[in-house]
Symmetry: C2
Subunit: 372 residues, 2 copies
């Protein structure tokens, strides 16, 4: 349980946009970067939201994120696109790539894009949802900084490498899966370190490749590249399917990076104060190339309804489907304001002062689970 | 550790083909069905190989598998295809669908197919590898009989719903991920039941939705639809990412079934002696729509080499990449003969006698791990 404050969505949006513009982004790019960033806070994924603002500002100041980078089209066909972002902000080039993919899919039925030499693009689900809103199936992946250890190994060789997949429904909220292919992300390890808690077996291995218990020494070893790291989805060894999560993480690296000649695996690392350059993959598939979208969405309703009304296990209150919790949080947060820990609010205050802007006022406080 | 016998690949192939032909398959369909079935044994996945022959024969005898079904093209475009198998054998219609997808991708860059009202199609990886051999990225999914329990629920609402993904390399064996989206499959639970072993926490839940310990009562409850079942990849609850595996399983049902109007979730169940009708999804993406395939494969070599030569964890001997174990087993089994437990061999003997055929001789014996 943590204390948090709430800041109104609209004022925070204006503040963010202004900060981005002060740091050299065009109004258009500032707006998109803000929209993607705050979508994470709205949907209850604060690790990818406004808490990242400091790292974004650091990236812009250091030149790792280049607001005026010229996006280069490396390869293009009716169903494919490769963009080189040359270090541009992640969100605007990703929106551009996904819009191109949607346009191509409208003509061709399906299309895919790789974006290389890009930066942190926020939540993967944002782009998959763009396709979903056009009666398409949407797919997004990105590789990320080194963090995950292959099954039976002791050193990190891939990132959290998330996959997002979205498919529309009619009455139900859409199905939006947005998942790291590692068991947890670094933030979870940091929380356990702050709380002085022992890590559960199946989250991470230490530098010998055995189950890691101490989160603090693990984080040190990871920073120093001494070994150790987070386990793929499925955990330690093969007993619970760790080799499957490992395979999914490598699949993401293949589609994001190998497919367009970008760095992968150990070649990607975060800087001390900002994120490293990464590559993304986007896809869209028109539903009406297979079936009447209205019928598809009616069946999606049946499927999603059957899941969310399934009888809960003893001790549980509800069964969800992918994306449902996030849609519900979005409704709350849009009204009540975006929740953030005080540390994030104070950072925003400092970020604002540096460029002559005022952070918007706190409109509420609360206490509860605010995922890292 | 189990005792097993080995039977020569070529004689077993001829036997299988002859059995299928005796049960009404055309020589062409018998050859494909055999090739897919034995590919599983070659690659060390005996659960999907010749051990299934009895269930296939039962399916053909009962009319659930229809050797003369007319395959119907329901929908078709330059990048999409929907086939209704009308109960045909799974392998031949799947090979046909994947070949169509590869042809379409050759022209359009990428293409996808759904096959509905089909039967068990063997290992998903077989079809993804077909695309890989054409310098394409291959994707295969299938839904399967009811078995998996959503996170926080107590009754099964999806199958093992596997995903296969294949990408070619030059010197390295290709990357072939072929994974159930559940932690384990029913076979593992059956093995624990035979051995009288307690199930590890994170594999399954009982009919109350709590961690299942007793494999025998779990299997009974599953057969009687009393509740309980296998957990999605990531295990129990959300602590280890069970909601992610759950999301992947539903994604598979959406692409295989909802996208083409086929039954999904609880509507799919195995019969006592054979498998229920299922739906599949196939995809192929031409690598040269993104990048020179030779360069792609060189980078794949770098990636896969870095993985298999990674320093192993203490107590481990090797690090693998997806598909590597299977390629190595294929080399051994092609020479030494296909391994099978004596029970399977005796079944083949009976199956052969019924149609006037002789099961091929045992050419070797061994002892070791033969996955279920």
């Amino acid at each position: 349980m943590v204390q948090f404050v709430r800041v109104g969505y609209q004022p925070l949006k204006e503040f963010c946009q202004a900060v981005f513009e002060k740091h050299g982004l065009s109004p258009h790019d500032a707006e998109i970067s803000t929209d993607v960033l705050l979508a994470a806070d709205l949907r209850g994924i604060p690790s990818h939201g406004i808490a990242r603002m400091q790292r974004y500002v650091n990236g812009l100041k250091s030149g790792l994120m280049r607001p005026n980078a010229e996006i280069e089209t490396v390869m293009e066909s009716a169903t494919s696109l490769v963009l080189d972002a040359h270090g541009a902000m992640g969100a605007p080039v990703s929106v551009r790539a996904m819009n191109a993919v949607i346009d191509k899919a409208r003509t061709s039925g399906a299309a895919f894009a790789c974006v290389r030499d890009s930066n942190h693009f926020g939540i993967a689900g944002y782009y998959a949802i763009m396709a979903m809103r056009q009666d398409m199936i949407g797919l997004t992946m990105t590789n990320t900084a080194l963090l995950g250890v292959p099954t039976f190994a002791r050193k990190a060789l891939f990132g959290t490498n998330p996959i997002a997949f979205a498919a529309p429904a009619e009455k139900e909220k859409g199905f939006v899966l947005d998942m790291a292919t590692t068991v947890v992300t670094r933030g979870k390890i940091e929380v356990y370190s702050r709380l002085g808690k022992e890590l559960p077996e199946g989250w991470a291995v230490d530098k010998t490749g055995r189950s890691a218990k101490d989160p603090t020494s693990l984080l040190e070893d990871m920073v120093n590249r001494a070994g150790g790291g987070i386990l793929p989805l499925g955990g330690l060894g093969e007993m619970f399917g760790g080799h499957k999560g490992y395979g999914l993480a490598i699949m993401v690296d293949i589609l994001c990076a190998v497919l367009c000649g970008a760095p992968f695996g150990a070649a990607i690392a975060d800087m001390p104060t900002t994120s490293g350059r990464v590559s993304h993959f986007f896809g869209a598939m028109r539903i009406d190339a297979f079936r009447d979208p209205a019928e598809f969405k009616r069946d999606m309703d049946r499927l999603l309804y059957s899941l969310r009304t399934a009888e809960p296990a003893e001790g549980q209150e509800r069964v969800y489907y992918a994306g449902l919790k996030e849609w519900e949080k979005e409704e709350i947060n849009r009204q009540a304001g975006l929740p953030m820990v005080m540390q994030t609010y104070n950072q925003l205050d400092t970020i604002g002062r540096e460029v002559g802007l005022h952070v918007p006022p706190v409109i509420g406080t609360g206490e509860g689970e605010l995922p890292e």
